[in-house]
């Protein structure tokens, strides 16, 4: 009898410790309130979608999400959230970061905490160099910016370009990336137009008129996703730049899927370069989009932020399996370097040298679909794109 009890209690103890090892605590650092709330929701849903669609791959582990509000791009709230996730909640893995300043401010804490931290959006190129525990499953501004410079020169046969950009770091990153690769491929940037800050949407007319007067082959625009992008297409249409033979191009931020329908017919013909749009033609993406629409409503759509969360969760599950549920910071980073995955955006992997994502970039054109809705048609592709800023060791990424 005694033996039995002992055996039983031993079994319980073992299963209890087993259950402990099975739960992976993920601390999520996203702006759930304020202007970023919309983005946090997309990333949140992306993570949930992964766990739902790949429940069998997650087993035997369970992922527990502990969410903290990063509140604003000010840095300090996000930093305190990171601190407390590590010291109070003892999370195994950190994830999130919509705003680059928040990821930058959190870097020393991530470094001291020695837990892997998966960046699911923040796009300033050099962030991943600020801590050896940072991994990125979103993008760097250089991914799309550099790729489109090459595509503009080679595929669109453009000789001259004017660049208009919102005057904050992602805009400047985009400008630098585009200019560098466009000019390396024989093009010439004839004017650079700063178009106000990210805080408010300016009247785009004077900037666009200045671009139009110079008659470039292409007009490269970077503005933040959202209302800025809608203003861009409207002004482009109103000034008749398309009729004047000037192609409007940009990174995919300006044709964010969630905003595309609101941009109206003026967006037709817009050419963008990005790693994801909801109309990508592959089996993984079809499954992802269908399940998304079923869960969150037919009028909703995933976008590049959602896929950042989705792939981030895929990476977290990969790490959990590699380390058999016992997350150690340094081992986790080594495990992450072997990550290869067939994502809705196509094949992706983590660059072992930079811990940043390697992925395909798609050149797309906005067209009107059969149902009258706007959609993006893929017209070109560059495979296995690395962050050019780090690959070429350009100033901030040295």
């Amino acid at each position: 009898m005694m033996k039995r009890i002992l055996a039983a209690s031993a079994a319980i103890a073992i299963s209890a410790s087993w259950a402990q090892a099975q739960e992976i605590k993920v601390g999520v650092n996203l702006p759930y309130t304020g202007i970023g709330a919309e983005f946090a929701q997309l990333i949140d849903r992306g993570m949930e979608m992964y766990l739902k669609l790949n429940a069998d791959k997650v087993k035997p582990y369970t992922i527990k999400l502990i969410k903290r509000d990063a509140k604003n791009p000010g840095g300090n709230d996000s930093r305190v959230a990171t601190q407390e996730l590590l010291t109070q909640e003892n999370v195994d893995i950190l994830a999130g970061w919509v705003y680059s300043p928040n990821a930058i401010a959190s870097a020393p804490v991530v470094n001291a905490g020695k837990k892997p931290a998966v960046i699911m959006n923040a796009g300033t190129a050099h962030i991943t160099q600020m801590s050896n525990y940072y991994l990125r499953t979103s993008f760097s501004m250089w991914h799309a910016g550099y790729a489109i410079g090459e595509a503009a020169a080679k595929q669109l046969k453009a000789k001259t370009a004017v660049v208009g950009y919102t005057d904050f770091p992602p805009g400047k990153d985009s400008l630098n990336a585009f200019k560098r690769s466009f000019e390396a491929n024989g093009g010439k940037v004839i004017d650079e137009i700063p178009m106000g800050g990210a805080g408010a949407v300016p009247d785009m007319t004077p900037f666009f008129q200045r671009a139009k007067d110079q008659k470039p082959d292409v007009f490269f625009v970077f503005v933040p996703a959202g209302d800025h992008a809608a203003a861009v297409t409207k002004t482009y249409g109103a000034l008749g730049m398309q009729q004047a033979g000037i192609k409007l191009i940009g990174p995919g931020d300006i044709t964010q899927d969630t905003k595309l329908q609101a941009m109206g017919d003026a967006a037709v013909g817009l050419i963008t370069m990005h790693h994801y749009h909801a109309d990508l033609d592959n089996a993984e993406n079809k499954r992802f989009v269908a399940e998304w629409k079923k869960t969150y409503g037919a009028n909703t759509t995933p976008d590049f932020m959602a896929v950042g969360g989705y792939d981030g969760m895929a990476l977290i599950v990969h790490i959990a399996h590699q380390l058999k549920g016992k997350i150690d910071g340094d081992k986790a980073i080594e495990a992450a370097k072997t990550f290869k995955y067939n994502s809705p955006r196509g094949p992706i992997s983590i660059d072992p040298e930079t811990r940043d994502i390697v992925m395909n970039e798609y050149l797309s054109e906005v067209v009107k679909g059969k149902d009258g809705k706007l959609m993006q048609k893929t017209i070109g592709q560059i495979a296995n794109v690395k962050d050019a800023c780090k690959a070429q060791k350009i100033a901030p990424c040295k």
């Binding site: 000010g74 300090n76 930093r79 930058i104 600020m130 990210a198």
Partner: protein, 341 residues
């Protein structure tokens, strides 16, 4: 005449001479702050933020609460201090923490003095708008000077050496930061307390209550206001500088309207023109925001909003004001029970 009490024994005179004396409860905030350090070692990051906000709110209280300078741009000085400390450290010019704070205070004071010379000729809404503009100009300057200030992404390479060469600034468990901020707050508070009970502080209150009469008695009103604004700016600069050191990071948000509005709300919530309003307001606002947002990451602002509505509707003097009203209601009863002496 000899039957009359001498002037120094007059109840009004006694009240005036005693008003600066230490009350029994005044050490309480400091005891609590120290207790927090020992009881909640895992909450010190939040605690540090809270103490910095108290310091910032005290600086605003000097200008707004005591001198009646209506400003919505106080973050200008917070940011000036933060960027001074941050940029000196970033470019390896000066990293020692305490002298760094003095430099931050000096730059903020200079900006406060120069802008005060111009702005304080105006009052009311004009003044409010001009302070807002000053802050917006500084913010835009920091954005345009991207190559030096890091712009929106902020300064990233700030390393602060150990305090007194001994105490490391640990990013994960910010014990040193907490005690350092607490110490600086104490020094600044003692200064502010001495100031508001000094004749200079009295004259500020006089200006707030009745500018015309202060002119009539011959007080140099504008000079007093500019001096007060400069001192207030210096304290805000210290708050900003210490924020930069504790976070090892500075970005545009230090100069933003968000910060300026938050500190104003905190001061109104706690009770302006009362030394301890900054403490109570910062504790109430930040603790509520912090812990509500942990429980309800998406909906915590609702709770905070309801509190602010309640304060605005029912308690114009802030939380301290409510306390004062309660004490006053209790007091007459106590006097009635006492036998006439």
């Amino acid at each position: 005449m000899s039957a009359m009490p001498t002037l120094t024994e007059h109840p009004a005179a006694l009240a005036l001479t005693r008003r600066h004396r230490l009350r029994w409860w005044e050490p309480l905030p400091w005891v609590l702050a120290l207790a927090f350090y020992f009881l909640f070692p895992r909450h010190l990051g939040f605690g540090t933020e809270l103490l910095i906000m108290v310091l910032f709110a005290i600086s605003l209280d000097l200008a707004l609460g005591y001198a009646g300078i209506i400003t919505l741009g106080h973050a200008a000085f917070f940011g000036a201090g933060a960027y001074t400390v941050g940029m000196l450290a970033q470019y390896g010019i000066w990293t020692e923490p305490i002298t760094g704070l003095i430099a931050g205070a000096a730059v903020a004071a200079l900006i406060g003095f120069l802008s005060g010379l111009v702005l304080l000729r105006t009052t009311g809404l004009t003044l409010l708008m001009l302070t807002l503009c000053t802050m917006a100009l500084l913010e835009e300057a920091a954005n345009l000077g991207h190559d030096w200030t890091g712009g929106f992404d902020g300064l990233t390479g700030i390393t602060i050496p150990p305090l007194f060469g001994l105490f490391e600034f640990n990013p994960l468990f910010p014990k040193t930061q907490y005690l350092y901020v607490l110490g600086v707050l104490f020094v600044c508070f003692v200064f502010a307390r001495t100031l508001v009970y000094s004749p200079f502080g009295q004259s500020l209150t006089g200006i707030r209550e009745n500018t015309l009469r202060m002119h009539a008695v011959g007080a140099p009103v504008r000079t007093r206001l500019v001096v007060c604004y400069t001192i207030s700016a210096a304290l805000a600069g210290i708050a900003g500088g210490i924020w930069a050191q504790a976070n090892a990071y500075v970005n545009l948000s230090t100069l933003g309207l968000d910060r300026a509005a938050t500190v104003l709300i905190i001061l109104v919530l706690g009770g302006y023109g009362r030394l301890y309003g900054a403490f109570v307001g910062a504790l109430a606002y930040m603790a509520l925001a912090h812990f509500l947002s942990q429980v309800y990451p998406t909906a915590w602002q609702l709770g905070l909003g309801l509190l602010l509505v309640a304060i605005a509707l029912f308690a114009r003097g802030g939380i301290i004001g409510v306390g004062e009203t309660l004490v006053q209601r209790l007091r007459p009863k106590m006097y009635q029970k006492q036998p006439p002496s």
